[in-house]
Amino acid sequence: MKKIEAIIRPEKVDDVRKAIEAVGYPGLTITEAEGHGKQKGVTQQWRGETYRVEFLPKVKLELVVGDADVEKIVKAIISAAKTGAVGDGKIFVSDIRDAIKIRTGERGESAL
């Protein structure tokens, strides 16, 4: 099993959800986050002073999927989230040691 963490633009959440729905996915958690990569922040002002906002709003999607499904879901996320401009985000894939369904107690990929 693998965990896919995708940090994307907030306005892309709906497009990404539709894209992964089309290829099938077991479940999804989203978190509202702030951050930046190499993308610079923005400059704002308040009554004669300027300041930087370095952390931009993003959304983090987390999905735990079977090994066989990783590539198709990653491709779906990229196709929906990409704009070509700096700030499109990143996807991280990591190993998951175990998964347990709380309701039934099942473990492993059948718990997903």
Partner: protein, 448 residues
């Protein structure tokens, strides 16, 4: 029952209600321009201050301000409006101890109610400048003292038949009586209290602390704009069709001119038009025209407003550079433009509008006479208010303390002073932005 008395009384009371409504305006502007973690505290201050001022002004303030007595303060009819009075009789027919108000033909309680809402306005001005770090109780005590002594004494000099009135000093609706007095007290408060934690850094670095709700600030500003149509025209205390119409227009024209110049100024200097500056611009224009509004032409009101709009933008940055933390610009709006408006009477007044009062100002052939009186008045009000308000602040500081603890300030006064949260469903940010002003006076323009 005389029709004139009925109409004048209706006018005085309705405009007083409009001025009362400005308390909502101040509460909304101040809350919107400051952080969410202090919202309950700011709303509370603005709410309670009117109650404290009402009590103070009824108990003693009105008597000191309008009672007959010396050129410095009233000595008769001091407490609880019990002085002899046969209002609505006017002029020679008036018999009583509140002679300074014998020119308006309305009942005593109408005069009191009208003057009370003006006193309430002065106290709310202080609230903005000390926001985010003042102790609630200390502020209430200060407001009570403002309503009993600070405001009424200078008010007596100007509207109570005192020495400034006798010198030929004129302030139609209160650029000095209300706005400068509030402004000076706000200045001493902000200075003695000290800036909010994190506002100023080494090398004069200034950190912006953005307001949390510009919607609230805008609503508040519109409410104040509406209220000012009670503040200025109401000060005729008579339903005089010509005067009240003219004053509505001069009031509005000064306001809009200031909106435009403040917007243009902040647009040019910072690269983008800052809403906070535009809102302050409006208020600056209205404050500036408050003293001259009855004595000037519409053209003059446009000029006064235009200057006020530029002054307030400069003043906001200027007070920041001086290391004085005024979260809402109360000093820039009320103090700077209260003084300017008072001086503007000396420049722009025309005898034709209210014959036998101001005479002509400097720009209309009246020479220096009126302007000199105005300048003396500015100085006298400044000296008294600076000294007495500073004494009160220091006395409060030495006894009950005026500033919350550092920990409470960081957590927010809503929790510390009230055990409330304005937005319990939301996570409130506790960090401050990173200023890009490299040093004093070097704010980078906002360009994307």
């Amino acid at each position: 029952m005389e029709t004139k008395v009925m109409l004048d009384t209706l006018w005085v009371l309705i405009t007083a209600m409009l001025v009362f409504f400005m308390n909502l305006g101040f509460a909304a502007v101040e809350a919107g321009m400051q952080q969410a973690k202090n919202c309950v505290n700011i709303l509370s201050k603005n709410f309670v201050v009117f109650a404290a001022t009402s009590l103070a002004f009824w108990w003693l303030g009105f008597g000191i301000m309008f009672g007959d007595g010396s050129p410095w303060f009233g000595l008769q009819g001091l407490f609880s409006l019990h002085g002899a009075d046969n209002s609505p009789a006017t002029g020679a027919a008036y018999q009583g101890v509140y002679s300074s108000l014998n020119w308006t033909g309305v009942p005593l309680l109408a005069k009191f109610f009208f003057q009370l809402v003006f006193a309430g306005t002065a106290a709310t001005i202080v609230s903005g400048a000390v926001g985010g770090r003042i102790k609630y109780l200390s502020f209430i005590v200060f407001s009570f003292l403002m309503g009993t002594i600070l405001y009424p004494v200078t008010g007596h000099w100007i509207w109570g038949g005192g020495f400034l009135a006798k010198l030929g000093f004129w302030d139609f609706a209160g650029s000095s009586v209300v706005h400068s007095v509030g402004g000076w007290a706000a200045l001493t408060g902000a200075m003695i209290l000290g800036p909010r934690i994190g506002k100023f850094g080494a090398n004069g670095k200034i950190t912006p602390i953005p307001g949390h709700n510009l919607g609230l600030a805008t609503i508040g500003t519109f409410v104040l704009w509406l209220g000012w149509f009670g503040f200025n025209p109401g000060s005729t205390m008579a339903a005089d069709p010509g005067a009240i119409s003219r004053i509505c227009v001069t009031t509005n024209m000064a306001g809009i001119a200031a909106v435009l110049t403040a917007t243009i100024a902040s647009w040019m200097w910072m690269g983008k038009p800052d809403l906070g500056m535009s809102l302050n611009g409006l208020l600056a224009g209205l404050v500036a025209v408050t003293a001259p509004c009855a004595y000037i032409s519409v053209e003059s009101s446009l000029i006064i407003g235009a200057i006020a709009g530029v002054l307030v933008v400069l003043a906001v940055t200027w007070f920041d550079r001086l290391g004085i933390d005024d979260p809402v610009g109360a000093t820039s709006v009320h103090l700077v433009n209260g003084v300017f408006g008072t001086i503007a009477v000396g420049l722009f007044a025309q005898d034709a509008f209210m014959p036998g009062t101001t005479g002509n100002g400097l720009l209309f052939g009246g020479g220096m006479k009126l302007l000199t009186a105005q300048l003396i008045g500015v100085g006298a009000v400044a000296a008294f208010t600076l000294v007495v308000s500073a004494i009160v602040w220091y006395a409060l500081k030495a006894t009950m303390g005026i500033r919350v603890t550092a920990q409470e300030e960081v957590e927010g006064l809503d929790l510390g002073e009230h055990g409330n949260s304005a937005y319990p469903d939301f996570v409130v940010r506790k960090t401050l932005p990173v200023s890009v002003s490299a040093s004093v006076g070097a704010a980078q323009p906002v360009r994307s």
